[in-house]
Subunit: 255 residues, 2 copies
Protein backbone atom coordinates (compact mmCIF):
# COMPACT_ATOMS: atom_id res chain seq x y z
CA UNK A 1 0.00 0.00 0.00
CA UNK A 2 1.30 3.41 -0.92
CA UNK A 3 2.35 5.61 1.99
CA UNK A 4 0.08 8.55 2.69
CA UNK A 5 1.55 11.95 1.90
CA UNK A 6 3.29 13.59 4.86
CA UNK A 7 2.27 17.22 5.36
CA UNK A 8 4.16 19.54 7.71
CA UNK A 9 2.12 22.47 8.99
CA UNK A 10 3.43 25.49 10.83
CA UNK A 11 2.66 29.18 11.27
CA UNK A 12 3.83 32.35 12.97
CA UNK A 13 0.76 33.15 15.07
CA UNK A 14 1.50 30.25 17.39
CA UNK A 15 0.19 26.75 17.89
CA UNK A 16 -3.10 27.95 19.42
CA UNK A 17 -4.12 30.30 16.61
CA UNK A 18 -7.46 29.69 14.94
CA UNK A 19 -5.90 29.96 11.48
CA UNK A 20 -3.64 27.00 12.22
CA UNK A 21 -6.47 24.89 13.59
CA UNK A 22 -8.70 25.60 10.58
CA UNK A 23 -5.88 24.81 8.16
CA UNK A 24 -5.16 21.53 9.94
CA UNK A 25 -8.80 20.48 9.84
CA UNK A 26 -9.20 21.24 6.15
CA UNK A 27 -6.04 19.34 5.13
CA UNK A 28 -6.82 16.42 7.44
CA UNK A 29 -7.85 13.91 4.79
CA UNK A 30 -5.01 14.72 2.38
CA UNK A 31 -2.33 12.86 4.33
CA UNK A 32 -0.57 12.32 7.63
CA UNK A 33 -0.29 15.72 9.27
CA UNK A 34 2.42 16.93 11.60
CA UNK A 35 1.80 20.35 13.10
CA UNK A 36 5.02 21.83 14.50
CA UNK A 37 4.43 25.45 15.43
CA UNK A 38 5.77 28.15 17.74
CA UNK A 39 4.46 28.07 21.31
CA UNK A 40 3.64 31.80 21.15
CA UNK A 41 2.93 34.48 18.53
CA UNK A 42 5.93 35.15 16.26
CA UNK A 43 4.47 37.61 13.79
CA UNK A 44 6.98 39.67 11.84
CA UNK A 45 9.81 37.24 12.61
CA UNK A 46 10.75 36.87 8.96
CA UNK A 47 13.39 34.13 8.47
CA UNK A 48 14.93 34.71 11.89
CA UNK A 49 16.82 31.95 13.66
CA UNK A 50 17.39 31.22 17.34
CA UNK A 51 21.14 30.90 17.70
CA UNK A 52 22.06 32.30 21.13
CA UNK A 53 19.78 30.04 23.18
CA UNK A 54 18.77 26.40 22.71
CA UNK A 55 15.25 25.49 21.62
CA UNK A 56 13.01 22.57 22.52
CA UNK A 57 9.68 21.08 21.54
CA UNK A 58 6.95 18.89 22.98
CA UNK A 59 4.00 16.83 21.82
CA UNK A 60 0.67 18.48 22.58
CA UNK A 61 -1.81 16.14 20.90
CA UNK A 62 -1.87 12.87 19.00
CA UNK A 63 -4.76 11.44 17.00
CA UNK A 64 -5.03 9.11 14.05
CA UNK A 65 -3.08 10.81 11.24
CA UNK A 66 -2.31 13.96 13.23
CA UNK A 67 0.39 14.98 15.68
CA UNK A 68 0.64 18.48 17.11
CA UNK A 69 3.87 19.84 18.59
CA UNK A 70 4.76 23.20 20.07
CA UNK A 71 8.29 24.57 19.81
CA UNK A 72 10.06 27.40 21.62
CA UNK A 73 11.68 28.64 18.40
CA UNK A 74 10.79 30.86 15.48
CA UNK A 75 8.81 29.62 12.46
CA UNK A 76 12.08 28.85 10.63
CA UNK A 77 13.41 27.02 13.70
CA UNK A 78 10.21 24.95 13.67
CA UNK A 79 10.74 23.81 10.09
CA UNK A 80 14.42 23.06 10.63
CA UNK A 81 13.97 21.21 13.92
CA UNK A 82 10.96 19.16 12.80
CA UNK A 83 12.90 17.98 9.77
CA UNK A 84 16.13 17.44 11.72
CA UNK A 85 14.90 15.66 14.81
CA UNK A 86 11.30 14.53 14.46
CA UNK A 87 10.32 13.44 10.98
CA UNK A 88 11.72 10.21 9.63
CA UNK A 89 11.13 11.23 6.02
CA UNK A 90 11.00 14.42 4.03
CA UNK A 91 7.51 15.97 4.01
CA UNK A 92 5.68 15.95 0.68
CA UNK A 93 4.32 19.40 1.40
CA UNK A 94 4.77 22.25 3.85
CA UNK A 95 1.89 24.64 4.46
CA UNK A 96 2.45 27.66 6.69
CA UNK A 97 -0.55 29.49 8.08
CA UNK A 98 -3.28 30.37 7.87
CA UNK A 99 -1.83 33.70 8.88
CA UNK A 100 -4.08 36.21 10.61
CA UNK A 101 -3.30 39.16 8.33
CA UNK A 102 -2.15 39.79 4.79
CA UNK A 103 1.34 38.91 3.58
CA UNK A 104 1.02 40.49 0.16
CA UNK A 105 3.54 42.75 -1.57
CA UNK A 106 6.78 43.38 0.37
CA UNK A 107 5.34 41.68 3.49
CA UNK A 108 6.93 38.51 2.17
CA UNK A 109 10.16 39.94 3.64
CA UNK A 110 8.83 40.51 7.18
CA UNK A 111 6.46 37.59 7.56
CA UNK A 112 7.24 34.65 9.81
CA UNK A 113 4.62 32.69 7.90
CA UNK A 114 6.57 33.21 4.71
CA UNK A 115 9.88 32.64 6.53
CA UNK A 116 8.70 29.10 7.25
CA UNK A 117 7.68 28.59 3.61
CA UNK A 118 11.08 29.87 2.45
CA UNK A 119 12.78 27.42 4.80
CA UNK A 120 10.72 24.51 3.53
CA UNK A 121 11.72 25.45 0.00
CA UNK A 122 15.42 25.67 0.92
CA UNK A 123 15.15 22.19 2.45
CA UNK A 124 13.59 20.81 -0.73
CA UNK A 125 9.93 20.60 0.28
CA UNK A 126 7.14 22.09 -1.90
CA UNK A 127 6.06 24.96 0.33
CA UNK A 128 3.26 27.49 0.49
CA UNK A 129 2.34 30.27 2.89
CA UNK A 130 -1.37 31.03 3.28
CA UNK A 131 -2.74 34.27 4.72
CA UNK A 132 -6.15 35.82 5.25
CA UNK A 133 -6.34 39.61 5.03
CA UNK A 134 -7.63 40.26 8.53
CA UNK A 135 -5.93 40.25 11.91
CA UNK A 136 -9.11 39.19 13.73
CA UNK A 137 -8.46 36.22 16.01
CA UNK A 138 -11.97 34.92 15.31
CA UNK A 139 -12.03 35.44 11.53
CA UNK A 140 -13.97 33.12 9.24
CA UNK A 141 -11.34 31.01 7.48
CA UNK A 142 -13.73 28.91 5.39
CA UNK A 143 -13.11 30.53 1.97
CA UNK A 144 -9.39 30.61 2.67
CA UNK A 145 -9.44 26.92 3.64
CA UNK A 146 -11.34 25.97 0.51
CA UNK A 147 -8.79 27.71 -1.73
CA UNK A 148 -5.76 26.59 0.28
CA UNK A 149 -6.90 22.98 0.27
CA UNK A 150 -7.38 22.97 -3.49
CA UNK A 151 -3.86 24.29 -4.02
CA UNK A 152 -2.40 21.88 -1.47
CA UNK A 153 -3.88 18.97 -3.44
CA UNK A 154 -2.31 20.26 -6.63
CA UNK A 155 1.05 20.73 -4.93
CA UNK A 156 0.94 17.15 -3.62
CA UNK A 157 0.33 15.97 -7.15
CA UNK A 158 2.61 18.27 -9.13
CA UNK A 159 5.18 19.68 -6.69
CA UNK A 160 7.05 22.91 -7.41
CA UNK A 161 10.30 23.70 -9.20
CA UNK A 162 13.36 23.62 -6.93
CA UNK A 163 13.87 27.02 -5.33
CA UNK A 164 10.29 28.22 -5.86
CA UNK A 165 7.64 28.63 -3.13
CA UNK A 166 4.13 30.07 -3.11
CA UNK A 167 2.60 33.05 -1.34
CA UNK A 168 -1.21 32.75 -1.21
CA UNK A 169 -3.29 35.62 0.17
CA UNK A 170 -7.05 35.45 0.44
CA UNK A 171 -9.30 38.48 0.92
CA UNK A 172 -11.52 38.50 3.98
CA UNK A 173 -14.85 38.46 2.11
CA UNK A 174 -17.67 35.90 2.05
CA UNK A 175 -17.20 34.87 -1.57
CA UNK A 176 -13.82 35.04 -3.23
CA UNK A 177 -14.04 35.43 -7.02
CA UNK A 178 -11.17 33.08 -7.81
CA UNK A 179 -7.39 32.79 -7.67
CA UNK A 180 -5.14 35.10 -9.69
CA UNK A 181 -1.49 34.32 -10.25
CA UNK A 182 0.26 37.60 -9.48
CA UNK A 183 3.51 39.42 -9.04
CA UNK A 184 4.62 40.97 -5.76
CA UNK A 185 3.26 44.53 -5.64
CA UNK A 186 5.69 47.37 -5.13
CA UNK A 187 5.44 49.77 -2.24
CA UNK A 188 6.38 50.57 1.35
CA UNK A 189 4.86 51.24 4.72
CA UNK A 190 4.38 54.86 5.80
CA UNK A 191 3.67 56.52 9.17
CA UNK A 192 5.29 53.51 10.74
CA UNK A 193 5.36 54.46 14.40
CA UNK A 194 3.10 55.65 17.16
CA UNK A 195 5.12 57.72 19.61
CA UNK A 196 4.27 57.14 23.24
CA UNK A 197 6.14 57.18 26.54
CA UNK A 198 7.01 54.62 29.18
CA UNK A 199 6.52 54.91 32.95
CA UNK A 200 9.83 56.79 33.24
CA UNK A 201 8.62 59.43 30.80
CA UNK A 202 11.01 58.25 28.06
CA UNK A 203 9.80 58.29 24.44
CA UNK A 204 8.99 54.84 23.10
CA UNK A 205 7.77 53.79 19.65
CA UNK A 206 5.11 51.25 18.71
CA UNK A 207 5.18 49.82 15.21
CA UNK A 208 2.09 50.68 13.20
CA UNK A 209 1.72 52.25 9.73
CA UNK A 210 -0.13 51.68 6.52
CA UNK A 211 0.96 50.29 3.18
CA UNK A 212 1.43 52.70 0.32
CA UNK A 213 1.45 50.94 -3.02
CA UNK A 214 4.14 51.85 -5.53
CA UNK A 215 3.12 53.63 -8.71
CA UNK A 216 2.17 52.71 -11.33
CA UNK A 217 0.01 49.79 -10.18
CA UNK A 218 0.59 46.87 -12.55
CA UNK A 219 -2.37 44.76 -13.71
CA UNK A 220 -0.95 41.60 -12.13
CA UNK A 221 0.02 43.11 -8.75
CA UNK A 222 -1.10 40.93 -5.85
CA UNK A 223 -2.54 43.90 -4.00
CA UNK A 224 -4.78 44.78 -6.94
CA UNK A 225 -6.13 41.23 -7.12
CA UNK A 226 -6.93 41.24 -3.40
CA UNK A 227 -8.64 44.61 -3.63
CA UNK A 228 -10.72 43.27 -6.54
CA UNK A 229 -12.04 40.28 -4.58
CA UNK A 230 -9.59 37.65 -5.81
CA UNK A 231 -7.11 35.52 -3.92
CA UNK A 232 -3.55 36.30 -5.04
CA UNK A 233 -0.97 33.60 -5.64
CA UNK A 234 2.62 34.75 -6.10
CA UNK A 235 5.33 32.25 -7.01
CA UNK A 236 8.54 33.39 -5.30
CA UNK A 237 12.20 32.51 -5.62
CA UNK A 238 14.87 31.68 -3.03
CA UNK A 239 17.45 33.14 -5.41
CA UNK A 240 17.16 36.92 -5.02
CA UNK A 241 20.01 37.77 -7.42
CA UNK A 242 19.25 40.74 -9.66
CA UNK A 243 20.53 39.18 -12.89
CA UNK A 244 19.60 42.18 -15.00
CA UNK A 245 21.83 44.47 -12.98
CA UNK A 246 24.85 42.14 -12.82
CA UNK A 247 26.40 43.33 -16.08
CA UNK A 248 26.10 47.02 -15.27
CA UNK A 249 27.56 46.36 -11.84
CA UNK A 250 30.45 44.46 -13.38
CA UNK A 251 31.39 47.40 -15.56
CA UNK A 252 31.05 49.73 -12.55
CA UNK A 253 33.45 47.52 -10.55
CA UNK A 254 35.96 47.33 -13.41
CA UNK A 255 36.16 51.07 -13.95
Amino acid sequence: MKEKPLILITNDDGVNAKGLTCLTECLRDLGDLVVFAPDRPQSGMSSSLTSLTPIKYRLLKEEQGLKVYSCTGTPVDCVKLAMYDLLDRKPDLLVSGINHGSNMAICVHYSGTMGAAIEGCILGVPAMGVSLTTHSSTADFSECCRIGRRLARRLLREGLPAGTYLNLNVPNIPQVKGVKVCRQADGRFVNEYMRSENALGEPVFWLTGSFEEGKPVRPDDDMLALNSGYASLVPCKIDVTDYEYMERLRSMCDE
Copy 2:
Protein backbone atom coordinates in the same frame (compact mmCIF):
# COMPACT_ATOMS: atom_id res chain seq x y z
CA MET B 1 27.99 75.01 -0.21
CA LYS B 2 26.76 71.57 -1.13
CA GLU B 3 25.50 69.47 1.77
CA LYS B 4 27.70 66.57 2.72
CA PRO B 5 26.26 63.13 1.95
CA LEU B 6 24.33 61.58 4.82
CA ILE B 7 25.30 57.97 5.51
CA LEU B 8 23.26 55.73 7.79
CA ILE B 9 25.20 52.85 9.32
CA THR B 10 23.76 49.88 11.16
CA ASN B 11 24.50 46.20 11.75
CA ASP B 12 23.22 43.10 13.48
CA ASP B 13 26.12 42.36 15.82
CA GLY B 14 25.21 45.34 17.98
CA VAL B 15 26.50 48.85 18.46
CA ASN B 16 29.66 47.71 20.24
CA ALA B 17 30.87 45.26 17.60
CA LYS B 18 34.33 45.82 16.15
CA GLY B 19 33.02 45.44 12.59
CA LEU B 20 30.71 48.42 13.07
CA THR B 21 33.44 50.58 14.58
CA CYS B 22 35.88 49.77 11.76
CA LEU B 23 33.24 50.48 9.12
CA THR B 24 32.41 53.81 10.73
CA GLU B 25 36.05 54.87 10.86
CA CYS B 26 36.69 53.99 7.23
CA LEU B 27 33.62 55.86 5.94
CA ARG B 28 34.23 58.84 8.20
CA ASP B 29 35.47 61.29 5.56
CA LEU B 30 32.77 60.40 2.98
CA GLY B 31 29.95 62.31 4.66
CA ASP B 32 27.98 62.95 7.81
CA LEU B 33 27.58 59.61 9.54
CA VAL B 34 24.72 58.46 11.71
CA VAL B 35 25.23 55.09 13.36
CA PHE B 36 21.92 53.65 14.57
CA ALA B 37 22.44 50.08 15.66
CA PRO B 38 20.94 47.44 17.96
CA ASP B 39 22.00 47.64 21.60
CA ARG B 40 22.83 43.89 21.61
CA PRO B 41 23.71 41.13 19.13
CA GLN B 42 20.88 40.39 16.69
CA SER B 43 22.50 37.84 14.40
CA GLY B 44 20.12 35.73 12.35
CA MET B 45 17.27 38.18 12.86
CA SER B 46 16.57 38.44 9.13
CA SER B 47 13.98 41.15 8.38
CA SER B 48 12.19 40.69 11.69
CA LEU B 49 10.19 43.50 13.24
CA THR B 50 9.37 44.34 16.84
CA SER B 51 5.60 44.66 16.94
CA LEU B 52 4.45 43.39 20.35
CA THR B 53 6.59 45.71 22.48
CA PRO B 54 7.62 49.33 21.94
CA ILE B 55 11.21 50.21 21.07
CA LYS B 56 13.39 53.16 22.03
CA TYR B 57 16.78 54.62 21.24
CA ARG B 58 19.41 56.85 22.81
CA LEU B 59 22.44 58.89 21.80
CA LEU B 60 25.71 57.27 22.83
CA LYS B 61 28.29 59.56 21.25
CA GLU B 62 28.48 62.77 19.25
CA GLU B 63 31.50 64.13 17.42
CA GLN B 64 31.99 66.37 14.41
CA GLY B 65 30.23 64.58 11.54
CA LEU B 66 29.33 61.50 13.57
CA LYS B 67 26.46 60.55 15.86
CA VAL B 68 26.11 57.10 17.38
CA TYR B 69 22.78 55.77 18.68
CA SER B 70 21.78 52.46 20.20
CA CYS B 71 18.29 51.07 19.74
CA THR B 72 16.40 48.31 21.50
CA GLY B 73 15.01 46.95 18.23
CA THR B 74 16.09 44.64 15.45
CA PRO B 75 18.27 45.78 12.53
CA VAL B 76 15.13 46.50 10.45
CA ASP B 77 13.60 48.41 13.36
CA CYS B 78 16.79 50.50 13.49
CA VAL B 79 16.53 51.52 9.86
CA LYS B 80 12.81 52.27 10.11
CA LEU B 81 13.04 54.24 13.36
CA ALA B 82 16.11 56.24 12.37
CA MET B 83 14.38 57.34 9.19
CA TYR B 84 11.04 57.93 10.88
CA ASP B 85 12.05 59.82 13.99
CA LEU B 86 15.66 60.92 13.87
CA LEU B 87 16.87 61.92 10.43
CA ASP B 88 15.58 65.11 8.88
CA ARG B 89 16.41 63.98 5.34
CA LYS B 90 16.69 60.71 3.48
CA PRO B 91 20.17 59.18 3.75
CA ASP B 92 22.23 59.09 0.55
CA LEU B 93 23.53 55.67 1.49
CA LEU B 94 22.91 52.90 4.00
CA VAL B 95 25.74 50.53 4.89
CA SER B 96 25.02 47.58 7.17
CA GLY B 97 27.92 45.78 8.80
CA ILE B 98 30.66 44.91 8.82
CA ASN B 99 29.15 41.63 9.83
CA HIS B 100 31.26 39.17 11.80
CA GLY B 101 30.63 36.14 9.58
CA SER B 102 29.74 35.39 5.98
CA ASN B 103 26.34 36.24 4.50
CA MET B 104 26.89 34.55 1.17
CA ALA B 105 24.49 32.23 -0.66
CA ILE B 106 21.14 31.66 1.06
CA CYS B 107 22.34 33.47 4.23
CA VAL B 108 20.85 36.60 2.69
CA HIS B 109 17.54 35.20 3.98
CA TYR B 110 18.60 34.73 7.61
CA SER B 111 20.94 37.67 8.06
CA GLY B 112 20.01 40.68 10.16
CA THR B 113 22.76 42.59 8.39
CA MET B 114 21.04 41.96 5.08
CA GLY B 115 17.62 42.59 6.64
CA ALA B 116 18.75 46.15 7.33
CA ALA B 117 20.02 46.53 3.76
CA ILE B 118 16.70 45.23 2.40
CA GLU B 119 14.85 47.74 4.55
CA GLY B 120 17.01 50.61 3.33
CA CYS B 121 16.25 49.56 -0.23
CA ILE B 122 12.50 49.37 0.44
CA LEU B 123 12.66 52.89 1.87
CA GLY B 124 14.43 54.17 -1.25
CA VAL B 125 18.01 54.41 0.01
CA PRO B 126 20.94 52.87 -1.92
CA ALA B 127 21.87 50.08 0.47
CA MET B 128 24.66 47.56 0.91
CA GLY B 129 25.39 44.84 3.46
CA VAL B 130 29.07 44.11 4.13
CA SER B 131 30.32 40.91 5.77
CA LEU B 132 33.70 39.39 6.59
CA THR B 133 33.91 35.60 6.49
CA THR B 134 34.95 35.07 10.11
CA HIS B 135 32.99 35.19 13.36
CA SER B 136 36.04 36.30 15.36
CA SER B 137 35.24 39.34 17.48
CA THR B 138 38.80 40.62 17.00
CA ALA B 139 39.12 39.98 13.25
CA ASP B 140 41.21 42.23 11.03
CA PHE B 141 38.71 44.28 9.03
CA SER B 142 41.25 46.33 7.04
CA GLU B 143 40.88 44.58 3.66
CA CYS B 144 37.11 44.51 4.08
CA CYS B 145 37.09 48.24 4.93
CA ARG B 146 39.21 49.09 1.91
CA ILE B 147 36.82 47.27 -0.44
CA GLY B 148 33.66 48.44 1.32
CA ARG B 149 34.80 52.06 1.27
CA ARG B 150 35.54 51.93 -2.44
CA LEU B 151 32.06 50.61 -3.17
CA ALA B 152 30.44 53.11 -0.82
CA ARG B 153 32.04 55.95 -2.78
CA ARG B 154 30.69 54.54 -6.02
CA LEU B 155 27.23 54.15 -4.54
CA LEU B 156 27.26 57.76 -3.35
CA ARG B 157 28.11 58.83 -6.87
CA GLU B 158 25.97 56.47 -8.92
CA GLY B 159 23.23 55.12 -6.64
CA LEU B 160 21.42 51.87 -7.36
CA PRO B 161 18.29 51.01 -9.36
CA ALA B 162 15.08 51.17 -7.31
CA GLY B 163 14.47 47.81 -5.66
CA THR B 164 18.08 46.61 -5.88
CA TYR B 165 20.52 46.29 -2.96
CA LEU B 166 24.02 44.85 -2.66
CA ASN B 167 25.43 41.95 -0.68
CA LEU B 168 29.22 42.24 -0.30
CA ASN B 169 31.18 39.42 1.31
CA VAL B 170 34.92 39.61 1.84
CA PRO B 171 37.12 36.60 2.57
CA ASN B 172 39.15 36.69 5.77
CA ILE B 173 42.59 36.66 4.14
CA PRO B 174 45.43 39.21 4.22
CA GLN B 175 45.20 40.14 0.53
CA VAL B 176 41.93 39.91 -1.35
CA LYS B 177 42.43 39.39 -5.11
CA GLY B 178 39.61 41.72 -6.18
CA VAL B 179 35.83 42.00 -6.31
CA LYS B 180 33.73 39.63 -8.41
CA VAL B 181 30.12 40.39 -9.24
CA CYS B 182 28.33 37.13 -8.49
CA ARG B 183 25.05 35.33 -8.21
CA GLN B 184 23.72 33.87 -4.97
CA ALA B 185 25.05 30.32 -4.64
CA ASP B 186 22.59 27.50 -4.22
CA GLY B 187 22.64 25.18 -1.24
CA ARG B 188 21.46 24.50 2.30
CA PHE B 189 22.73 23.93 5.79
CA VAL B 190 23.12 20.36 7.02
CA ASN B 191 23.59 18.81 10.48
CA GLU B 192 21.88 21.87 11.83
CA TYR B 193 21.55 21.03 15.52
CA MET B 194 23.61 19.93 18.46
CA ARG B 195 21.43 17.94 20.83
CA SER B 196 22.02 18.62 24.50
CA GLU B 197 19.92 18.69 27.65
CA ASN B 198 18.88 21.34 30.13
CA ALA B 199 19.11 21.19 33.93
CA LEU B 200 15.79 19.31 34.04
CA GLY B 201 17.14 16.59 31.78
CA GLU B 202 14.96 17.68 28.84
CA PRO B 203 16.41 17.51 25.34
CA VAL B 204 17.32 20.93 23.93
CA PHE B 205 18.76 21.86 20.55
CA TRP B 206 21.50 24.37 19.72
CA LEU B 207 21.66 25.68 16.17
CA THR B 208 24.89 24.77 14.41
CA GLY B 209 25.49 23.08 11.04
CA SER B 210 27.57 23.56 7.94
CA PHE B 211 26.72 24.86 4.50
CA GLU B 212 26.46 22.36 1.69
CA GLU B 213 26.67 23.99 -1.70
CA GLY B 214 24.15 23.02 -4.36
CA LYS B 215 25.40 21.14 -7.41
CA PRO B 216 26.54 21.98 -9.97
CA VAL B 217 28.62 24.92 -8.77
CA ARG B 218 28.22 27.77 -11.28
CA PRO B 219 31.26 29.85 -12.29
CA ASP B 220 29.71 33.05 -10.92
CA ASP B 221 28.52 31.65 -7.57
CA ASP B 222 29.43 33.92 -4.66
CA MET B 223 30.75 31.01 -2.60
CA LEU B 224 33.19 30.04 -5.35
CA ALA B 225 34.53 33.60 -5.57
CA LEU B 226 35.08 33.71 -1.80
CA ASN B 227 36.79 30.33 -1.81
CA SER B 228 39.07 31.58 -4.60
CA GLY B 229 40.26 34.63 -2.65
CA TYR B 230 37.90 37.22 -4.13
CA ALA B 231 35.30 39.40 -2.50
CA SER B 232 31.81 38.58 -3.83
CA LEU B 233 29.29 41.25 -4.70
CA VAL B 234 25.74 40.08 -5.38
CA PRO B 235 23.09 42.55 -6.55
CA CYS B 236 19.78 41.46 -5.03
CA LYS B 237 16.14 42.33 -5.64
CA ILE B 238 13.31 43.23 -3.28
CA ASP B 239 10.91 41.70 -5.77
CA VAL B 240 11.16 37.93 -5.25
CA THR B 241 8.48 37.01 -7.81
CA ASP B 242 9.39 33.97 -9.89
CA TYR B 243 8.34 35.42 -13.26
CA GLU B 244 9.41 32.35 -15.20
CA TYR B 245 7.03 30.13 -13.26
CA MET B 246 4.03 32.46 -13.40
CA GLU B 247 2.72 31.15 -16.72
CA ARG B 248 2.95 27.48 -15.76
CA LEU B 249 1.26 28.26 -12.47
CA ARG B 250 -1.53 30.12 -14.28
CA SER B 251 -2.31 27.10 -16.41
CA MET B 252 -2.19 24.89 -13.31
CA CYS B 253 -4.72 27.15 -11.56
CA ASP B 254 -7.00 27.26 -14.60
CA GLU B 255 -7.17 23.49 -15.02
